[in-house]
């Protein structure tokens, strides 16, 4: 099955090249092309795609604004002609970064990298949560994660937040952090419930541990977690903010 994508790009020549490369590769199906972030977000409210080719500098909101507002986690390939965005790209955990203009060879390299089996495509090597015995309810008070060749039992209540690190997830507890091979999307499914909430493309927080919120930042035992624009409303609802 082909990977579905949209192109968010305000320059026609650049968008046409991308569309041509997608067709030529026979790996990617282009579902739409949007000239700005607002139109792309409107589409993404109705439809989900696997991948977004995202320009950074566009009229109105920029590509990073889309990443702040989007409410799910598709794969992202940033397309820009400014190398200065590389650091931001890293912080937003985008899958790849193509400097315009780029050749078909470079495009294919980026696309093939996405299609290599990773934690999204295949199950994680070790189950992150203890499997319940047959006919017995799972113990929802803790989970097991594989970290440093050990299966570590973590009490859910001890977890402060989870941070996406591309193909890995960092679990942060008051005294220690653990890194495990998985994705935030996987974890979001496993931690479903009243305690945990995704507040940013790269962060899930334990809302019972929040000390305070200032602007778009959550303060939590000395840690600062950004709040994505697309997650603000969910957070306000969950915290019962008046």
């Amino acid at each position: 099955m082909k990977t579905t994508c949209i192109i968010v790009e305000d320059i026609k020549i650049a968008a046409d090249f991308l569309r041509k490369f997608c067709e030529k590769s026979d790996l990617i199906e282009v579902k739409g092309h949007f000239l700005n972030v607002a139109d792309a977000l409107e589409y993404l409210d109705q439809e989900k795609v696997d991948l977004i080719f995202l320009d950074v500098e566009m009229p109105g909101a920029n590509g990073f604004d889309l990443l702040d507002r989007i409410t799910y986690s598709p794969m992202i390939i940033l397309t820009t002609s400014k190398t200065e965005y590389a650091f931001d790209a890293f912080q937003y955990h985008v899958n790849d970064y193509l400097k315009k203009p780029f050749t078909y060879k470079r495009f294919l390299e980026a696309v093939r990298k996405l299609q290599q089996p990773g934690p999204e495509a295949t199950p994680a090597p070790v189950p992150q949560q203890a499997a319940p015995a047959a006919n017995q309810p799972a113990d929802t008070e803790f989970l097991f994660i594989k970290s440093e060749d050990k299966l570590i039992k973590l009490k859910k209540d001890d977890i402060l937040f989870l941070e996406s690190m591309r193909d890995y997830v960092k679990f942060v507890t008051p005294g220690k952090s653990y890194i495990t091979y998985s994705t935030l999307k996987n974890m979001e499914e496993k931690l479903i419930g009243p305690t945990f909430l995704k507040v940013h493309r790269s962060y899930i927080v334990n809302i019972t541990k929040i000390d305070d919120i200032r602007g778009n930042t959550i303060y939590l035992l000395g840690n600062q977690i950004p709040i994505g624009k697309g997650h603000k409303e969910d957070l306000a609802t969950r915290l019962n903010i008046l």
Binding site: I11, A14, P59, S81, K100, P101, Y104
Partner: protein, 131 residues
Amino acid sequence: MSNVRPRFDFDESLNAAFLEELFEGDTIYAETVFEDFLKDLPVYWERVETAFNNKNLPVLGTCIHTCKTLFGYVGFTDLQELCQQFENKCSVNTVEELRIEYILLVQRKEKAQHIIEKEYTRLRLFNEDNG
């Protein structure tokens, strides 16, 4: 008689090696891109001029950024670099400080546009002859 399609040699002022890699010998697509460039550049450049005349440096930087990308697709990698430098200066300099560089940039753009007009015609004729 050989069926091998002859090679199109891009103008020496363009980054021919990059264009070869970008178009992979697809001169029909190259013709389309050069045509699009000639249609799009005047539209974007008008925005550059408006921003400069209005002394709106943030908008000027953004418009130059767009033109920089366009120049890249037709092989003007040196002009791309010049645009990048100008774009960077838009966030630290005043319009008056940038005036001379702006005039030079306009001259380079005029020259580039003229080269692409000629290249577009050459590509069109090449494709007609070898279509």
